[in-house]
Symmetry: C2
């Protein structure tokens, strides 16, 4: 396993990697969700590159960039165990030198859901992902469906800009009780951890009602709202029931429909989603 810190070195190492090359971009603090991406990348490709970079430009000013959890030593030992070939861990100055001033934007779908709550977020994501794709030049790149809007935005960007790689998305990995695994779960205290279950449970409630024949999205939204409001630690940011391609809100459920939500549990903002199909 090679640990690479500069773009120049990464380009050198890339020339020696056996094709096809799988790539898993991460912000570190690896968990079972990342590991599932890495294992699939290992299955699909001859070489696997994982990047660890907490990308400052995808955090809005009032967000948790400074306190975002980091543990490089533990990450590296996990990646070693998984048989990853190359870890790319660039510094901030390597990724964003002085006078850096370019950005990649995807319009429309980035204004909704997460984009409405986090105005600069997706611009930061698409910009860093383009840079990483250009540096690593993977055959396939892997993203988890917990951040489903991110996966949708990146897939759209890859098509629009004719980027020469395949985007693979994999199902959300969950704790035994259903909580979507996320690095930000580490912020939760015991009471909050329990309260955080309302995200998954409200999604399952919507799914159950839909399976029982409910098609009106306003009814589903109200049921979810009522359920979550019973949890005093939870503050809803948004509940969306939308077309999974355009992210435009639907009045009536027809498969596939994306149900997604963002809820603050204490100070911690969590997201989750399910596709009704």
């Amino acid at each position: 396993m090679e640990l690479i810190k500069t773009v120049v070195d990464m380009r050198q190492v890339r020339l020696r990697l056996t094709e096809p090359v799988g790539f898993v971009p991460t912000m570190g603090y690896l968990h079972a969700g990342h590991i599932s991406l890495i294992r699939q990348a290992k299955l699909d490709n001859s070489s696997v590159v994982v990047s660890i970079f907490v990308n400052p430009i995808q955090f809005d000013a009032d967000e948790d960039f400074d306190r975002y959890p980091r543990n490089l030593e533990r990450d590296l030992s996990q990646l070693q165990k998984e048989g990853v070939d190359v870890i790319f861990v660039p510094s901030m100055a390597e990724m964003y030198p002085t006078y850096f001033s370019s950005r990649v934007e995807v319009d429309n779908i980035t204004q909704r859901l997460e984009g409405a709550s986090r105005p600069k977020h997706f611009s930061g994501v698409t910009t860093v992902v383009v840079k990483l794709f250009n540096i690593i030049q993977p055959t396939r790149a892997y993203f988890g469906r917990k951040d489903i809007q991110q996966a949708i935005v990146i897939s759209k960007m890859v098509v629009d800009l004719n980027m020469n790689l395949i985007i693979i998305t994999l199902p959300t990995v969950r704790e035994p009780d259903g909580l979507a695994i996320s690095s930000r779960n580490s912020y939760l205290n015991t009471r909050e951890r329990k309260a955080a279950l309302v995200l998954y449970q409200s999604l399952m409630l919507a799914k159950k009602l839909w399976q029982q024949g409910e098609r009106d999205t306003e009814t589903l939204r109200c049921e979810m709202l009522g359920f979550i409001r019973k949890e005093p630690l939870a503050a809803i940011d948004y509940i969306s029931i939308a077309d999974p391609k355009t992210l435009v809100e639907r009045e009536e459920v027809k498969p596939p429909t994306l149900v997604s939500l963002a809820v603050k549990i204490g100070e911690t903002r969590l997201i989750d989603n399910v596709v009704l199909e």
Copy 2:
């Protein structure tokens, strides 16, 4: 010589091209400026790809997209003569399918000079160039210095986004009397063609004054202004004397300094520049 019209076909053909691959993006209506880029690309590379695409998104609404000169037949016969390997001539629908919604932006330097007069111009240029680079994957791409801000913006974008190619810029090709060769020169009638010389002549005036020891940019600008105003068909858009990296206006000339201008001759907007170094 292969004429390719789709992205899928271009990717196929690309796999067969001998490395290194030189690329000259054009909007067609080829002239001696383009030919000088193509010849240098031939010298530097084993294969050469030329694209012809009049890119609608780099024209502002009130600009000359519809009447921009086109002559594919003549272009192809010139390219054949030059020994170009592949001509990529995508349709509008191939480059911008319905729901296309991504863009690449370079901030700061795109707000000045041409960007100040043509608000959407550089966003259109950088977006189409990223697409073409991703489709053609050249080793080197060639741009003329007549559109010097375009070359500066693209070079900045390539560095910022870690694009894996080399940008080569070549000197402006001129008519015997000094007029910078441009597809838009075809708009000029005989009187306007003569009047258009004020661009080059005012640049030469600035250069002469500088060589004689003048360092004050305000003086140089006033001399150029006075000279151009004597031509009744000319209407100045801007005269800039700036740092060629940041495009920030200078108070004092120190090498290298970029002197550039945009002047309307009748209905035709022309640009030119010289670097004092």
